[in-house]
């Protein structure tokens, strides 16, 4: 009995030992700094010391720009320096939000802001719906014992690893009117070329499709984790009760996947509202303003037209929208936890 309880020597490979050695040295070195510090300020306050670097980075690169942006939104002029920017109160916000008919961007003082807002709303509805449906279907398929499941999981996730700019450049090459791969194929089979990125409807479709293609893997992975967390016993119980596959999905999978779905929905919504880099490279907001989204409007207003005040005011409006979405996620999550 005693022999059985004796700890067995753990086999340590040469490579892992070599890899760990520098870390051990570093940790040993850290002791010489941290132990005296801990004695000085006490163990309770050590947490602040560890958070400090990140807090500084957050403060300088996120919090401070946010405060500056807030102030910029209430100033005007072309100068960057705050001291040279006259305070104009809510003028920028008033101008942004003034419309004779809110359903017709042409009647708005800042018509491009409203075009951007409408385009973003269309994009969000289309992209998030398609993303969630396709991610769910893919996750359900990948959760089944299909042949090559690992390969398919990797394949669906692969586009997530690509930079949005790379994705946009690849698809731009595929969809170009003159020299695009897709149009070359259409011509080769005797069909007419299609202006995929030069006609409003097509451009909006492709912007959504490419966005879904590039991000779907991420959401599929989250949903897959959610699906795998559902206990198998629940399905067995449902099966014993005579439930068919659809009934199992409706009564077991869907309700138990709802918390994960909520996270996916809110994350997808926030990402969709922030859409910029991919579309900037793919269409630059065109044709006309068909794919001009709210973040690109802010970018153009600030950096092309140097209207920093208006750009900052539009950022504030966007921040409020994102805040509402985030609070919505928190409320939903807490309700689900409570239930």
């Amino acid at each position: 009995m005693k022999n059985e309880e004796a700890p067995r020597p753990q086999p340590v490979t040469l490579s892992s030992d070599l890899l760990l050695r520098p870390f051990t040295w570093l940790l040993g070195l850290a002791d010489y700094i941290l132990l005296p510090l801990q004695k000085l300020i006490g163990p309770q306050r050590m947490a602040y010391f560890f958070v400090l670097p990140n807090l500084l980075i957050f403060g300088i690169f996120i919090l401070l720009p946010m405060i500056l942006n807030f102030y910029y939104g209430f100033t005007s002029g072309n100068s960057i320096l705050l001291e040279n920017r006259p305070f104009v109160g809510t003028t920028n916000l008033e101008r942004l939000l003034t419309c004779a008919d809110y359903l017709n961007p042409k009647t708005c003082s800042e018509d491009l802001f409203w075009r951007g807002a409408f385009n973003t709303a269309t994009f969000v509805v289309g992209q998030v719906t398609a993303m969630i449906l396709l991610s769910l279907v893919t996750a359900l398929a990948l959760n089944r014992p299909v042949v090559g499941r690992g390969f398919f999981r990797a394949m669906f996730f692969y586009p997530v690893l690509l930079s949005p700019v790379v994705v946009a450049l690849i698809w731009k090459w595929i969809l170009q009117y003159q020299y695009g791969l897709l149009n070359a194929i259409l011509v080769a089979v005797g069909l007419q070329k299609i202006p995929f990125l030069l006609e409003a409807g097509w451009a909006q479709f492709w912007v959504i499709a490419i966005s879904v293609w590039s991000q779907m893997g991420f959401f599929t992975l989250i949903l897959l984790a959610g699906l795998q967390a559902i206990p198998k016993e629940m399905y067995e119980a449902a099966s014993m009760d005579g439930a068919n596959k659809w009934q199992s999905f409706r009564a077991v999978t869907f309700p138990l996947l709802m918390p994960t779905m909520t996270v996916v929905l809110v994350l997808a919504l926030i990402r969709a509202v922030q859409v910029f880099d991919q579309v900037f490279v793919l269409t630059n907001g065109g044709p006309g303003t068909a794919t001009l989204y709210i973040v690109q409007y802010i970018y153009r207003t600030g950096f092309e037209f140097r209207n920093y005040g208006m750009a900052a005011a539009a950022s504030l409006v966007l921040a409020i929208v994102l805040l509402v979405l985030t609070v919505g996620q928190l409320v939903l999550s807490r309700r689900q936890e409570a239930a």
């Binding site: 051990t24 040295w25 570093l26 040993g28 070195l29 002791d31 010489y32 100068s79 960057i80 320096l81 040279n84 042409k106 018509d111 075009r115 009117y177 003159q178 202006p195 990125l197 030069l198 409003a200 269409t283 630059n284 907001g285 065109g286 044709p287 006309g288 303003t289 068909a290 794919t291 001009l292 690109q296 153009r300 950096f303 092309e304 037209f305 140097r306």
Partner: protein
């Protein structure tokens, strides 16, 4: 064990600190007080050949403290090879002026003005910069007049409108910089396609060719040679202005406000909209350009375009990319009811008032703007010089003499309205507004009336803002 770790860590830290420390260089104070400032002591000793070393007799007197070399910073952007050409000229300047070094900070053109604005406002502007939006920094430039050898004579070498574009308010005499090159908008044609179609190039047989005649001829050529596109114009308000002024558009009123809605403006806008409806122009340029500048040069280079409205800055690129693949040429700007004009433009070398070395900056400007140096710069970069004496005298270019001479001739034809528009402080707003609103009309988002109304409103607001 801990002690061993501690010793190893300390040794490693010491090694890292040694490795990261700057290489030991003799501090200026370490130099003997009698040492003359040899070129080898300059930051870039390899750039100066030994023969350039000042003779002992040229060195400062032993009683005088050796002056450290003044370093001037010049912000620069490149369209082609002008960075290399400028560097070679600066090396020569440094050789002739051992006390001055010039460092070039090259940035991408699209970021140039934003970077510069941040630096100017932060008080860390470079000593000189090559810009195109000269009005943006008016009031921040260095007036070189009091440092120049002969300012009045120097000023006479440049177009008064160009010199005025640097100035702010009532200033009529300040000398703040000069154009490194002058550009003129104008069209190019693919002569090979005309020859293949058996249609004469209209400007070969007639002095004044109208827009309608050019478009008609280009359409026939495109049809005969199965070329995808007959005509194209770059997506920018700047390119639109020349044709519209020829068609009698007037933008700036005597009260210094803007008037957009004129028959000339509508005529030109409808002409470009019509090209899209007739599908004789590439959709990618105006319809697909999104929110930025777009050029049709790729279509021309690839032989897919008969008539291309762009400008003299394309010559170097065409010379390199097209070469002898087909016969291309620049032709005079088409005529309208009010004449024929292109638009002036170009890059300008400006000096900033925040410089700590105004004398050296002025010396460099005088050097770079001298006839011999500017002539060499223009010839090697295939640029049209902005200096009147050189433009009049002409430049012997190593290649592309035909298009360059055509554009040189176009300078004399530029309308005063074209200069006024180009160098107006609100020109960049009108440029982008026309570009973006006209694109919206082309893709059917708004009507031409709505576009004109939007542009007019925007310009009225900008004028009101500028008056405050």
């Amino acid at each position: 064990m801990k002690k061993i770790v501690f010793v190893i860590a300390l040794t490693a830290l010491a090694l890292v600190a040694l490795a990261c420390a700057p290489a030991p260089t003799p501090a200026p104070t370490a130099a003997p007080p009698t040492a003359a400032p040899k070129p080898t002591e300059a930051p870039k000793p390899t750039a100066v050949p030994p023969t350039a070393a000042p003779k002992p007799t040229e060195a400062p007197k032993p009683t005088t403290a050796p002056a450290a070399a003044v370093e001037l910073r010049m912000m620069w952007y490149n369209d082609g090879n002008e960075g290399e050409v400028m560097r070679a000229l600066l090396d020569r300047f440094e050789k002739e002026n051992p006390g001055i070094k010039v460092k070039i900070d090259t940035v991408a053109y699209k970021d140039l003005h934003n970077i510069l604005q941040t630096q100017v406002e932060a008080g860390t502007a470079p000593d000189l910069a090559r810009v195109t939006d000269v009005a943006r920094f008016a009031g921040k430039y260095l007036d070189m007049r009091k440092y120049m050898t002969n300012p009045d004579s120097w000023a006479k070498d440049w177009a008064p409108q160009v010199l005025q574009s640097f100035r702010k308010g009532d200033d009529k005499t300040g000398l703040y910089g000069f154009p490194t090159q002058f550009t003129v908008t104008g069209p190019f044609v693919n002569r090979t396609l005309f020859a293949q179609a058996g249609i004469p190039v209209p400007s070969d047989t007639k002095k004044d060719v109208t827009w309608e005649e050019w478009v008609d001829a280009a359409k026939k050529v495109a049809a005969a040679t199965k070329t995808p596109y007959a005509v194209a114009i770059d997506r920018t308000g700047h390119r639109f202005w020349g044709p519209s002024l020829s068609k009698c558009a007037t933008y700036i009123t005597p009260e210094n406000t803007f008037k957009v809605d004129t028959p000339g403006f509508r005529d030109t806008a409808n002409m470009i909209i019509g090209w899209h409806k007739d599908k004789i122009t590439p959709l990618e340029v105006w319809a697909g350009g999104g929110g930025g500048y777009a050029a049709a040069n790729e279509f021309f280079v690839n032989g897919q375009l008969v008539f291309y409205m762009s400008g003299s800055w394309q010559i170097g690129q065409f010379d390199k990319l097209i070469g002898k693949k087909f016969d291309w040429a620049a032709v005079p700007n088409p005529s309208g009811k009010c004449g024929s004009t292109g638009m002036p433009g170009g890059a300008l070398l400006v000096t900033f008032a925040s410089t700590k070395h105004p004398k050296e900056v002025t010396k460099l400007v005088e050097y770079l703007s001298s006839d011999a140096i500017l002539e060499e710069f223009s010839a090697k970069t295939l640029f049209i010089p902005g200096k009147l004496t050189l433009a009049k005298k002409g430049i012997q270019y190593p290649s592309s003499n035909q298009p360059l001479n055509v554009f040189l001739a176009e300078i004399a034809k530029l309308m005063p309205e074209a200069y006024a528009l180009q160098y107006h402080p609100l020109t960049f707003v009108l440029n982008t507004e026309i570009r973006d609103r006209l694109s919206q009309v082309i893709v059917g988002e708004i009507t031409l009336d709505e576009a004109i109304q939007k542009i007019q409103t925007k310009m009225d607001e900008e004028v009101a803002k500028a008056k405050k």
